[in-house]
Amino acid sequence: MDRFLAISAVFLPALGLIAQWKQGPFSQEQHQRRLACSLCAFAGIAAAALFVIAFRANAPLASVHLFDWVSLASIDDLQIKFSLRADLQSAAFLCGSNLLACLLLASVNKSPLNVLQLVAVNLLFVSENGVQTFFCWEVISVSSYFLIRENSVSSISRSSYFLIVQLISDLCLLFAVTVLWKQTGSFDYAVIFSKEFIQAVSLENTHSMKAAATFVFFAVAGRLVLLPFTIPLNPAGRFDYRKPVWLIGVVLFPSSLSLLVQLQPVFLASTNYQQLLLLIAGVGVVSGVWTVLQIFGIWTATMASIRFSFERIFDSVVLRPLQLSAMFIQWLERLVSGWALPRLSELVSASMDQTFGVLKTGDVLFYALSVILTATVLVVVLVGMQG
């Protein structure tokens, strides 16, 4: 029963893709919206039931194994499986997210990306290993980019900045997961965050945990476009996204919160990092308030000049050096291919012409004959040596 509920709570919204078909019983837009909202409501109810079962059992329920994604048994003994973790925490997240989606789906634009985002967020809540978490995290990034791109009134190139920030966030999470994998040899949270391991790492090797905690911090900061990403690259201010409530309320904020809760043992390695966690929460609150004010256009005018100066700084500090270095490499390449190599090839051609003057007619012929001749001579020499 609990497995059925877990699968329903995660994947039921995916059936909303049926609503995207242009023909059939759900061809009218209001029917499509009703179907999508009903599915989310059912998923929320299933998650609520799961929560009750887990609460009464007072222990994590059995996880649902979906499939083995990668399994390397020979040397590394690396097994990455996709599964659904059913416990109080994941059920609470699933319930909240699905019910909120049920309320908001009626107002957002009808798009498969909404459904994809919701399923990815649900899978993130129930993930049991780092790779599944990273998988869902990156799906959320890309789908958010395309959603913003579809619904933005700003220029297309500006929305690309959002994707870059999200990719930085993805890479930070990848680093965090990889650091933990290097320490334990496993991606499973059950192995990584076992009591013995936490104790051992806390006593002996706190650096890796600190590194992991730092990367998790930057991953969450990038996802929510908090500091240090907020000022030059704020999505709400820069991209004029029409439906920020869905993006922030259903997708970005719950996924970030879930990640912090899932990976919170990495912060236990040092008390400084527990303080950092509080700092994240504080920055999140400030940034959230600022974003809400900006949505209503209160700070837009005053922040415009500040943002403009930060853009200039970002351009001059990051983009220009990148372009300059690329141009420098291109100049070097042209210097080598336009000046050095032709002279070298002239020298080689001159010596080759002297040696193989008869074969001037075709470069291809010359190439083939030279290789065949060299091979023949060497094989004959080898056979002769053996004889």
Binding site: V70, V371, V383
Partner: protein
Amino acid sequence: MIQQLIDSFLERIVFLIVLLPVVGAGLVLLFARANPESGRRVAITNSLLSVALVSVMLANFSPHPVSKGGSSPQFQMVTSLRWISTSASLQHREGGLPQLKGEHTSEIQFAPSPRIRIAFGVDGINLPFIVLVSLITLPAILLSTENRASQSGLLYAVLLLFQSSLLGCLAALDVLLFVVCFEASCFLLLILVGYWGKADRQDAVQCAIKMNVASSLCILFGVIGLTMAYSWMTGTEQRPKAELNFSMSHLSMGIPIQRLWSQGTAAIAFWEKHGPWILGVLSLGFIGRMGVFPFHGWFQKLLAASPPGVAVLFCAGFLNLGTYGLLRLVLPAADVLPENAVGSLQWMALIGLLCASLLMLIEQNFIRFLGLATAAHQSFCLLALWTIREIGPLGVMLQVISFGIASTILIGVHCCREANEDQTSTSPSWPNWISIVAVLSLLGIPGLLGFPAKLMMFLGIYSENPVWSFWVLAAGLISAGAWIRMLNRTWLRKSQPQNLSLFTKAIPACFCGLLILLGLVPQLIVSRCEFSVARMMSLRIGNSELTESHFRHADVSEIAHAGYDNFQVPQTADQRPQ
């Protein structure tokens, strides 16, 4: 009877896969004389048959092969024909294969002489490469159009021969056959570009010839050095020089096993003295062919001058031969290379990756941009190949397939765009979306094949050196920015031509589906390659205990040198040569 026929067919299927395009080339020339269009149809049918044969091979490929004797052969579906072989060597062969130093040898009546064979087979290392080449030939033929009426069918015939040479190189179990196919593929590529290429082909071909002559010579010298070294290492006191052994299996597996289990002998001293030079020359040859950053100029020019069909086979097939050569011949014995040399190669790959990614930022022409992306991809592969865990090379195999399929889609769609440039609209249509999926796979977005590939390569590189992995991610971010810019300039704005045939539309859609399927279930490839890569890596890292435990796990029970095309290793310590 029927079962025997089926078994016989399945045993020779790799040979048939290599031979089929040659037969197809003959048929194309025959049919095209009467009607040029029939030549094209024959070529398409031939490539479809090739895909069908590869599917059968894939279905019959065993991830953990066990022979009747309980041993674990390296290659499966082996076909072996005598090519150059004297009677002396054959009679000597009847008494057993070359024996290890220290073993008792009673009667040697004939002087040893080389035995060269036309032998083809498949294992977990060449399997993904063979599948890829077979898959991309069909779009390559579809994208090719004959532009010279007097040469009807010749383009398709040469394309099929090119495919056959690529397959032959990948499936060869004899190093001389490998070298012959390697050079033949290069020769045919130059003919294809030189004859049917774009306006600037002359300069491109000349540039390619110079680079390829250099790398060919390096490969040739390296292979001959490897053969001679193995001959000297396996000699006995009575017969100091064993017969020349050109078996790919013996050369790739035999030398590291000799080195691991013959500590302190003359053989090992010899290999430690000469091995680094041989492997260094061989590596240089293969890296030159890969088109890694400092050596990318020739292939970028050649790619720009290639007709679209040839560009597909060149970019997704030919350039992978260098990667395959490194995997097959260099990596198993690479622990003899000095740390400085390996470090230099890795730094070269890393710098190449960063530079190619930076250059992508300012490149405007799409084909040249794709050339730079290929250089970055090859540098990334080179870096991940040298990692100490098997996960790196396994990731490279996935990445080769991912990049091959994605680049085929991109070249195909770009070709159609150029042909119908006037038909544009404001929103992207479905071929554009397929191109976007291909780009997303190149970026390593989850749900597509590029994701597990890049993840595994990254994990391998991180295991080797965490600092490199940081730079790899930086390069990934830069190239992601460049790809997004290219997307915004091209596929996200303009629409695709709508006058494509259903068949032409179906191929990219199938390729796109393949990217998604393999991205969701990468285990389909990983499980087939894992065993062979693990065997190779256990030799590469030079840990005899690990090697022994790995082969015990594989249930190997036969004594060394049990077959010409399949090298076997001793199971227990008392069977090792002392």
